[in-house]
Amino acid sequence: MDFRLGPAPEEVRSQIRAFLREHYTEEARERERREGNGHDWELFRKLAERGWVSAAWPREVGGGGRDPYEMLVFQWELGKAEFPWFGLLNNALVGRTLLELGSDWQRREVVPRIVRGEILVALGYSEPMAGSDVAAVQTAARRDGDGWIVDGQKIFTTQAHLAQYVFTLTRTNREVAKHKGLTVFLIPTDAPGVEIQPIRTVGGERTNAVYLSGVRVPDDLRVGEVDAGWKVVRYALGLEQGVGFADRMELFVERARAWARERNAQGERPIDDPRVRERLARASIHAEVAKLLRQRVAWLHATGQSERGEGPMAKLFSAEMFVEDVSDVMELLGPAGVLQHGEPGAIAEGYFEETFRGAPVTRIYGGSNEILRSQIAEGRLGLPRTR
C-alpha cells in the first residue's frame, strides 16, 4: 500500500497554488462574493490557456493526459481556495462528451472553443418537475424542417446567464419509455425565445431559471442520435462523479483551528476548552476519512478498476459530515458567529457564516444523497432496487 499521491500530483499542487497566489486576488474573491457566479471569465481563460479545460482528456484526442491523481489535486486546490471553477468543470464535462458522442462538426467547431475558454457551456438537466428523476424532463423538442423547435423550462441552470450554450436535455418522443425518448441539444443562449431569470441561493451563488419558447435550434446542435439523449447524459454524469467536498472540509478544519487558537479579549483560547478541541478533533477525523474516500475513487480510475459505489460514498460521506461539522462548530462560536463578512468583529471575516449558508446544497446537488444511498445499497450491498 502507498497513501502518497506521488511526485506528479504534488508538482500540480505547487503550480496551482502559485497560480492562485498570483491571480486569485482579494479583489477577485470580493467579486465572486458579490456576484456568486461560480465563474470568472478572466481567471477561467487563464486556466484554459494553461490547458486545464481538457487536462484530463487523453492525449490522443488532444487532451492533457493528466492522470486521476493530478486531476484530484487540481480540483482539490481550487476547491480548497474556494475558487469559482464550476464553469471550467462544466466545460470539461461537455467538451469531453462532445468528443465522444458529438458530431464531426461539433468536434471541429465547438470543442476547440470550449477548450480555449472562448465559450462557456451550462448544464440544462433539471426542470421544475424533474430533479432527481431527471429522465422525467418535459421540455419538448419537435422537428421543424431541417431543425428543431424547443419549448419548456429548465431550472437551477447555473451560469446560463454567462454561457453561450446550454447543454439541454429534451423530450423528443412521448410514445416510448421515458428514458428512450430523450435528446440532447446545445441551445444557444442568444437564440430568440430564450429567457434567463436569476435565482438567488442561500449560499450566495446565483443560479437561473431558463424559459424556452419556440426556440429554433439547427440540427447541427443536436448531440448524439435522436432519442439517445439518455446515453449522452449518462456519459456526462459519469464524468462528474466521486468528487465530494473533502477539500473544503480540509479548509474548514484549518480555519476552525486558526479561530480556536486565537486569544479573545479575556486572553483565553477556545482550543484550551476541551469541548472545543474535541469537536475540532472530530471534524479533523471526518476530513481525513473524506480525503481517503475521495483518493480511493482516483485510485480506482487510475488503475482501471470499475466502481461499486465508491464514487457515491465519497460524495455522501463528505456532504453529510460537512453539514454536521459546520453546524456544530458554528454552535461553538458564540454570538459573533452570526456576523457577516465586512462587519467589524466578524469571526474569521465571516468565513463560518458564509460556509454555514453554503453547506446544505452539498447534500443536494451532484446527485442528492438519497439517490446516492440507493446506488450504494444496490451497487455495493446487492440489495434489491429501492424506492
Binding site: 502518497r4 481517503l292 485510485w299 460514498m313 440507493s374 450491498l381
Partner: protein, 344 residues
C-alpha cells in the same frame, strides 16, 4: 498511490479468514461465552502464526508489520473469534522491542503457550485497572511512571463478566510482584507506541465486528419479506445500511492509512492511530445497533447472531477508552502538535 494489498498480504488475509470461517463459527463463539476464550481455538490459531504476524523473522515471527496485523485483526473481529489476538500480538512486539533479559520469552509467546497482554493505563496513577485479556493472560506488560514492568496476574484474579464477553479482569498492579523490563524515556516511548498499536488493532477489530454485523443485516434485509416484498426494498431499511457501508469503508481506509504511516510517515502515526480508534469506536456501536434494528424483534433475541456483534462493538471500544475518551486524547494531542509546530 496504491490501495491494493500485496500478494503476501492477501495470502495472510485469506488464510486467517478461511481458518476462522472454519474454526470459529458462531456456535464456537457462543460456547466460549461468557469468558470469551476458547483454549483449543487459541492453540490452533497460535500454531498458524497469529501472535508473530508482526514480529521479525529473526525473533521467530513472520516478519510482517502493522498492515498485516490489522488485516488479521479485522478477520478476528468479523468472526468475533474468542482469541485475544490484539493484546497478544501487540505485547509480543513490545517484548521483542524491549529485548529485556527479564520477563517473558518471545518464543513462548509466539507458540501460544504463554499469553501476554498490556495493562493500558499508567499503574503509577491507576494501579487498579481492567486489563484486556487479563482473565486469561499469564503476564501483562505494564507501565508505572518511567518503568516498564512484566506483571503476573494478582492472587485470586478472576475474569469479570462483561458486556462484550471479553476475557477482562481487574488487576491491581503492584511493582513488588513485577519484573522490571526497562526504565527511562525510551522505555516509556516504546510502551506508549505499543498502546498506539493496541488502539489501532482494536480499531481494526471493530471494523471487522461492524463488517460482520452489516453482512448479517444485508442478508436479513434481502430475505425477510413484509408487505409482500423483501424489506431491503424499503429505503427506511436500505439507506441506513448504505450509510453503514460508507462509514465502514472510511474506517477501514483510516485504519490502513494509520498502519501504513508507521513506516512511511511516522510523525503522523500517533495521531492517525487516535483518529482511527476514535472513529471506529464511534461508528461500530452505532452501526451494530442499526444492524440489530433491521432484524426487528428477532434481532433483540439472544438466538440471532447480530446481538453478539452489538455487545462487542460497544464493549471492545469502551475497554480502549471509548470514542469520547479517545477524542479527548486526540484533541490534546492535536493542540499540542499545533502549538509545538509554531504554525499560527
Amino acid at each position: 498511490m496504491d490501495l491494493s494489498l500485496s500478494d503476501e498480504q492477501r495470502l495472510i488475509q485469506s488464510t486467517f479468514a478461511e481458518f476462522l470461517r472454519r474454526e470459529a463459527p458462531s456456535a464456537v463463539v457462543r460456547a466460549a461465552e461468557p469468558l470469551g476464550f476458547d483454549a483449543s481455538l487459541w492453540a490452533s490459531f497460535a500454531k498458524l502464526g497469529a501472535v508473530g504476524v508482526g514480529v521479525s523473522e529473526a525473533e521467530g515471527g513472520a516478519g510482517g508489520g502493522l498492515l498485516e496485523m490489522v488485516l488479521v485483526a479485522e478477520e478476528v473481529g468479523a468472526r468475533l473469534a474468542p482469541v485475544p489476538f490484539v493484546e497478544t500480538a501487540v505485547a509480543a512486539r513490545l517484548v521483542a522491542d524491549l529485548a529485556s533479559p527479564q520477563g517473558p520469552r518471545i518464543a513462548a509467546l509466539l507458540e501460544g503457550s504463554q499469553l501476554a497482554t498490556l495493562a493500558p493505563w499508567d499503574a503509577a496513577a491507576t494501579p487498579e485497572q481492567l486489563v484486556p485479556a487479563g482473565g486469561v493472560a499469564q503476564v501483562a506488560i505494564a507501565r508505572a511512571g518511567d518503568t516498564v514492568l512484566a506483571v503476573p496476574p494478582p492472587e485470586g484474579t478472576r475474569p469479570a463478566s462483561n458486556l462484550a464477553s471479553a476475557p477482562l479482569a481487574s488487576w491491581r498492579i503492584a511493582a513488588g510482584d513485577a519484573l522490571v523490563l526497562a526504565r527511562g524515556t525510551r522505555a516509556v516511548q516504546r510502551f506508549e507506541r505499543a498502546l498506539d498499536e493496541w488502539r489501532l488493532l482494536t480499531a481494526a477489530a471493530l471494523v471487522g465486528v461492524t463488517r460482520g454485523a452489516l453482512a448479517l443485516a444485508v442478508d436479513y434485509a434481502t430475505h425477510r419479506e413484509q408487505f409482500g416484498v423483501p424489506i431491503g426494498t424499503f429505503q427506511a431499511i436500505s439507506h441506513p445500511l448504505a450509510d453503514a457501508a460508507t462509514w465502514l469503508d472510511g474506517a477501514r481506509l483510516l485504519v490502513q492509512e494509520a498502519a501504513w504511516s508507521a513506516g512511511e510517515e511516522p510523525q503522523r502515526f500517533p495521531e492517525l492511530c487516535a483518529m482511527a480508534f476514535a472513529f471506529a469506536a464511534e461508528i461500530a456501536p452505532r452501526i451494530a445497533e442499526t444492524c440489530l434494528h433491521v432484524h426487528g424483534g428477532y434481532g433483540f433475541s439472544v438466538e440471532y447472531d447480530v446481538q453478539l456483534h452489538y455487545r462487542r462493538a460497544r464493549g471492545w471500544a469502551l475497554v480502549g477508552g471509548g470514542a469520547a475518551g479517545e477524542l479527548r486524547r486526540l484533541g490534546e494531542l492535536q493542540r499540542d502538535n499545533l502549538d509545538a509546530s509554531g504554525v499560527r
